[in-house]
């Protein structure tokens, strides 16, 4: 007998687990993958450890709100940026991978909803990032002098990172929708491209914002990374909770952590619904133009 397919909660969980299992199997298909990634992380950390030796003292005074020590500051920055970059890129890469492998139509015709499709195709990226974060932490602690504050509040930091990840997912969805709107299928979308420039230049991943000219600091205020990095570092590295480090802090006159969370919530409230709306409209457009498939 035939029957209409039903996607109840168990079936949905099975579908999600299928994505995770598939991504892990593909990731481990080439046995050297893990070693290559490990070497990449090690060399990345080594570069910043060397920079810390050369310039760590020079920026020490700027790092006072974050514990005053450059290696820990930058390693934590890289780890947080890795997490937020995944949120930003996962919807784009999930969709792109499905498109180029000829799987987009097959997934779109299956009974899973569009949000489930995006989550499913993105979830592998999060699993890999989680593993990478553990490697960063382990290598940082073992070899590169990463020191976490004695009074570190990991729950608080995790909360800020989570809200920032949500906001970045919204931005990521907006970027992924451009695959459908403007055929941005070459590995980059305009939104992620612009955010990527701002993250590198003015979010404070690699150096404190306060060493930059005021107008560049304001550019950093346009992305959620800046607030998440500020709050999470204060919480983890045992810095202070009073020093105003971002222009927006001075604008509102609230405590830095309160300003940070308000800004992150504001980003999430705007970007997530807008991202879903744009993605949905993008899929509709692709279905109208006949561009869900590589092949006609």
């Amino acid at each position: 007998m035939t029957e209409e397919l039903r996607m109840d909660r168990k079936a949905t969980l099975r579908a999600m687990w299928a994505f995770v299992k598939r991504d892990l199997k593909i990731w481990t298909y080439f046995k050297l993958n893990f070693l290559i990634e490990l070497a990449g992380i090690f060399s990345n950390l080594a570069i910043y450890a060397i920079i810390a030796l050369v310039a760590g003292e020079a920026v020490k005074s700027f790092l006072k709100p974050y514990g005053g020590e450059y290696v820990s500051y930058v390693i934590l920055g890289i780890i947080l940026n890795t997490i937020l970059s995944t949120s930003l890129a996962a919807p784009y890469w999930g969709t792109m991978e499905a498109f180029w492998s000829g799987r987009l139509e097959i997934l779109m015709i299956s009974p899973i909803s569009t949000p489930l499709f995006v989550t499913g195709t993105s979830i592998g990226g999060y699993v890999r990032t989680f593993i990478n974060v553990l490697i960063y932490l382990a290598l940082g602690l073992l070899f590169f002098g990463l020191r976490l504050g004695g009074t570190a509040d990991y729950a608080l930091a995790g909360f800020y990172i989570l809200i920032a990840a949500v906001a970045c997912t919204g931005l990521g969805l907006m970027g992924a929708s451009l695959i459908y709107f403007i055929d941005a299928r070459g590995g980059q979308d305009p939104i992620r491209w612009i955010v990527g420039i701002l993250v590198g230049l003015a979010s404070g991943v690699y150096y404190p914002l306060s060493i930059l000219p005021e107008w560049v600091q304001w550019l950093g205020c346009l992305i959620p990374h800046t607030y998440a990095l500020d709050a999470a570092r204060r919480a983890i590295l045992g810095g202070d909770f009073k020093n105003l480090t971002i222009p927006v802090h001075r604008l509102f006159g609230l405590t830095p952590l309160l300003t940070d969370i308000l800004m992150l919530i504001a980003f999430s409230v705007v970007t997530v619904p807008l991202g879903w709306w744009m993605y949905d409209r993008g899929v509709r457009k692709a279905k109208t133009d006949g561009r869900l498939s590589r092949w006609v």
Partner: protein
């Protein structure tokens, strides 16, 4: 009458646009180039892929869409399966509107495509790929296991289930695609040229399974597109013939063939079939249509089918033409009309050009 599929004045147009060089390696700048080409896209001309199609497919019916490449069969299937949004008109699947209730439509349908090795992960084995799809469609683990074993047996991949798709032949990959389709048992099943690329024995086995198990035993409504006339004749309860986006005729294979029963068809097996020869035969008085099918590209050997009202009068002239063009007649026979003859009668050309 209870219909599984109803199509109402469905039209789908595409923009004729230069391909965007997505694989040209522009890196980060690619989206800027894509944006520029998108502006050109707005001014591009329309191509009508499906043109005002009306169609009704009964529940449990095995329905064929027959037409040459580019006739609009796949586009029509994609519109019915919610992968394309029509420009005009609509359709219902199992009573659900494809435009208003696409999520409900998706729960009622299944689709098998052809060509490439679309949809499969190169890093997963044949069996793991099928397990992924079984989970994606919400199959319970015990049912999934049972079905996977069954379909692997049917498509003859049981021995190759632990191989990755890159290590099996293209024909086997097509069988994987079919196996994926057979896993899911929904009320409506779209099959887009499922047997393309299969060897004759596998193709026959697949056809038997479609006819006996899926259609006969399970009662699935099946829409099958093909440009193999024998496949349509052998499998389908009714056939719609498509050309240039339109349905030019629809009926049982017998009804369609009755449309040309007054005509005689001469079938000539020969070598050196070429455009000049076909043109020359076409110009002979009393010849209504002529089509050819080449079996051996090296010697251009194959079959010429000539439609006429008076076979006896024209046969000597046709044979002379073949001789003049360097051909060598191997066999001549009076033939029964086929669906290809019907297609030729209706459109003035053969299914396989």
């Amino acid at each position: 009458m209870d219909y599984a599929i109803e199509v109402f004045n469905l039209t789908k147009k595409f923009k004729k646009v230069k391909k965007i060089p997505t694989e040209a390696g522009f890196g980060d700048a690619h989206w800027i180039i894509a944006l520029g080409l998108k502006l050109k896209f707005l001014k591009a001309q329309d191509i009508v892929a499906v043109d005002d199609v009306n169609l009704k497919v009964r529940k449990r019916e095995l329905f064929g869409l027959l037409g040459p490449n580019g006739a609009g069969k796949t586009t029509l299937i994609k519109c019915l399966s919610t992968l394309l949004i029509p420009d005009e008109g609509t359709a219902t699947i199992n009573g659900y509107d494809v435009l208003k209730e696409p999520d409900k439509v998706k729960r009622c349908i299944n689709l098998v495509g052809s060509g490439h090795w679309v949809g499969f992960d190169w890093g997963l084995t044949v069996k793991e790929n099928l397990e992924f799809f079984a989970n994606l469609y919400g199959l319970k683990p015990s049912l999934a296991k049972e079905r996977i074993d069954e379909v692997l047996e049917i498509v003859g991949l049981k021995d190759r289930q632990k191989e990755v798709p890159g290590r099996i032949s293209s024909g086997m990959r097509q069988r994987m695609i079919i196996a994926k389709g057979f896993l899911i048992r929904t009320p409506v099943f779209f099959m887009d040229e499922p047997t393309v690329g299969l060897d004759p024995v596998s193709a026959k086995d697949i056809r038997v399974y479609i006819k006996e198990k899926l259609s006969g035993e399970l009662g699935e409504t099946i829409v099958l597109t093909t440009h193999y006339m024998h496949e349509a004749e052998q499998l389908c309860d009714r056939v719609a013939i498509m050309d240039k986006g339109k349905i030019v005729a629809c009926g049982t294979p017998l009804e369609l063939k009755e449309m040309i029963e007054t005509e005689e068809v001469i079938e000539i097996e020969t070598i050196n079939i070429g455009t000049r020869l076909i043109d020359e035969i076409g110009k002979i008085d009393l010849v209504q249509n002529v089509a050819s099918h080449i079996d051996d590209p090296v010697t251009s050997a194959g079959t010429i089918r000539v439609h006429t009202d008076d076979a006896e009068s024209i046969l000597p002239m046709v044979l002379q033409s073949i001789e003049r063009n360097g051909g060598k007649v191997l066999h001549v026979s009076a033939s029964q009309p086929t669906l290809e003859d019907v297609f030729m009668k209706l459109t003035g050309k053969g299914l396989v050009e």
